[in-house]
Amino acid sequence: MTYFPEEVVEHIFSFLPAQRDRNAVSLVCKVWYEVERLSRRDVFVGNCYAVRPERVVLRFPNVRALSVKGKPHFADFNLVPPDWGGYAGPWIEAAARGCVGLEELRMKRMVVSDESLELLAKSFPRFRALILVSCEGFSTDGLAAIASHCKLLRELDLQENEVDDRGPRWLSCFPDSCTSLASLNFACIKGEVNAGALERLVARSPNLRSLRLNRSVSVDTLSKILMRTPNLEDLGTGNLTEDFQTESYQRLTVALEKCKMLKSLSGFWDASPLCVPCIYPVCAQLTGLNLSYAPTLESSDLTKMISHCVKLQRLWVLDCIADKGLQVVASTCKDLQELRVFPSEFYIAGYSPVTEEGLVAISVGCPKLSSLLYFCHQMTNAALITIAKNCPNFTRFRLCILEPGKPDAMTNQPLDEGFGAIVRECEGLRRLSISGLLTDKVFMHIGRHAKQLEMLSIAFAGDSDAGMMHVMEGCKNLRKLEIRDSPFGDAALLGNVAKYETMRSLWMSSCTVTEKGCQVLASKMPMLNVEVINEVDESSEMDESHGGLPKVHKLYVYRTIAGARDDAPDFVKIL
């Protein structure tokens, strides 16, 4: 193979888009390494601290699409203190110096400043797609810079970011010459936008396929926009709360009827039940529906809507839907692949009208179900066993029983056997979150059967170190392990240290690990960063027992070739 001209080798590599495959071929020989690195177009960095940005840019100067993730997943639930890190600046700066051909940037859980956005906007002449998910640190001024300078912008997708709203000016910064927008999502912007500017922008964007508005956009503006976008495939509505006049309804319905390509619907901010009939014309063609921001829709409103959605593949809904609403889903949505049921109350032991019965009904009616996130009031082993048998195709199974440590609602037993059935039947399971009363047995099942598992989330579970050790031994494909409030200590942490090199990261908070154990880990495994995160005001809650050694409140361990990071705040100790 080394006698082939490089162009031929490069051409062969072009059939290998997957990063894993490209990493593999680059190890074969120096020539292949060179050919591969210069032709690499997509780079995905799962942990921004695993490698230095300069090194990535040096190796892949011709990268077109860069994707970087920052904070650990539990940051979503306020478990990572602010100022922990995950700064986008160094990545954007390095790319601006070393790969000016960059066209797409995706960032998740990172801190992005306005200055960085401005640098981004001005540094890459071919830039066309910015996707920010769960990021923070920027304002609408940064968006104004993107709008003003990215002449070829096709995609601006802002998902659930914390954005400082400095006024509606940013949307007017898209020049009149900008006609390339295909996807615009500003649902997370809290404030008003200029309706006229929005309408004009939509009017000059013939390629617009995906548009997600924010809460401030009125029904009338929405109707006007929809009359201009007959090819729209994905819509996030604006405000549907107002008890608007019949004319507004009718205009919206007429406008929606024009959107024959519409497949996905979201928004519904605090939607009023009166708006539900407006949506009927498009229900039958929908494959995706997100109603998780509509707490004022009751079960009957939701079922009226969903009973028309025969093609639905993805449904996100609040638990207001209740078990009987889920039964309607089960009998209507035969193609359902992904279901998320979110809680509408956030009490620790809050009431939820959703129980194991709803999920069993779904499993009976929707055998194609492969991805689940389910918050509920209670669960039983019998239900889980039934669900596992009915839906062997689960790749993602996340169950959250609202009350930590709650046992089987019928037998009062731990839910070990139920989750055991899930991991046994679902051979393709890649992601699992467990909850309820669980002993070390569940981890025995997981270690024994969950061979494809890549990500495991544990909370308030287990009896002893053996639990965690079952997982570390048995789950050969484990990449991310996150644990909170479980009795795993130094023995578990140090039971299989070589494993951490095969994983992206480990998170442990409110467990029984000590600083001594962390130091041992750090000294045995120099290619890991062992971050001990101790916040001052938490120290009073730390248990004095456990051999008199202070327990580590939060621990984050990840493999890295970058060494200890230099941007860590005071409360983070890198061992």
Binding site: D76, N78, E192, D270, P295, T296, C320, F346, F375, E403
Partner: protein
């Protein structure tokens, strides 16, 4: 376990003894603790007293529980829901009265991005023949185009005082406001004068 529970509306003013009958669109939820604190803080504040938790929502398992309630109340980050999602569901419904109108309305202050948005919504809700008139000194009034009556938007704050809408930053207003009243101009002269700008 699948029976739906009647949901009563949230207390907007615990001390006032207002009763909480509902419009058809009842408020169904709020974050635990005070109205706009973060979920984490609210969890810490809640403690053993569950005055914020309507009786109808007592979890049956709590009643039978062997587990102590106090530690649960302080659990940060549980249930595992993104703050974005929690904040998006936060609702602060307040009653809106218009002098002379026979019924009240309820609005969710979190729906609105600022005063302009709110005033326009009030205009939509009550009377499409209200026009908004803005004055040089930042005052905003709603004027009934039919009979020329001027209405001044006012609100009752947490101290029970009636204030002019628009003086304080929007977020502060959302936090403090308990109810809104569109007061006839003739009555509004009794309110404290605005602070000089």
């Amino acid at each position: 376990m699948s029976a739906e529970t009647e949901r009563s509306s949230t207390e907007s003013c615990p001390a006032s003894g207002l009763d909480f009958e509902d419009t058809a669109l009842t408020l169904t939820l709020r974050l635990p603790g005070s109205s706009s604190s973060s979920a984490a803080d609210a969890d810490r504040k809640r403690g053993a007293s569950s005055s914020t938790s309507p009786a109808a929502h007592q979890s049956p398992s709590l009643a039978a529980a062997g587990a102590p309630p106090a530690p649960k109340a302080q659990v940060v980050g549980w249930p595992p829901v993104r703050s974005f999602h929690k904040n998006a569901l936060a609702a602060k419904f307040v009653k809106v009265a218009v002098d002379g109108a026979p019924y009240l309305r309820k609005v969710n202050l979190h729906d609105y991005a600022g005063y302009d948005h709110l005033i326009r919504a009030l205009q939509d809700k009550f009377c499409s023949h209200f026009t908004i008139r803005r004055f040089g000194n930042d005052e905003t009034k709603l004027v009934d185009a039919v009979n020329g009556t001027e209405y001044v938007p006012t609100y009752e704050d947490k101290d029970g005082d009636w204030m002019l809408v628009g003086d304080v930053p929007w977020k502060m207003f959302v936090e403090a406001c308990q109810r809104v009243r569109l007061m006839k101009n003739s009555e509004a002269v009794n309110l404290a004068p605005r602070a000089a700008r």
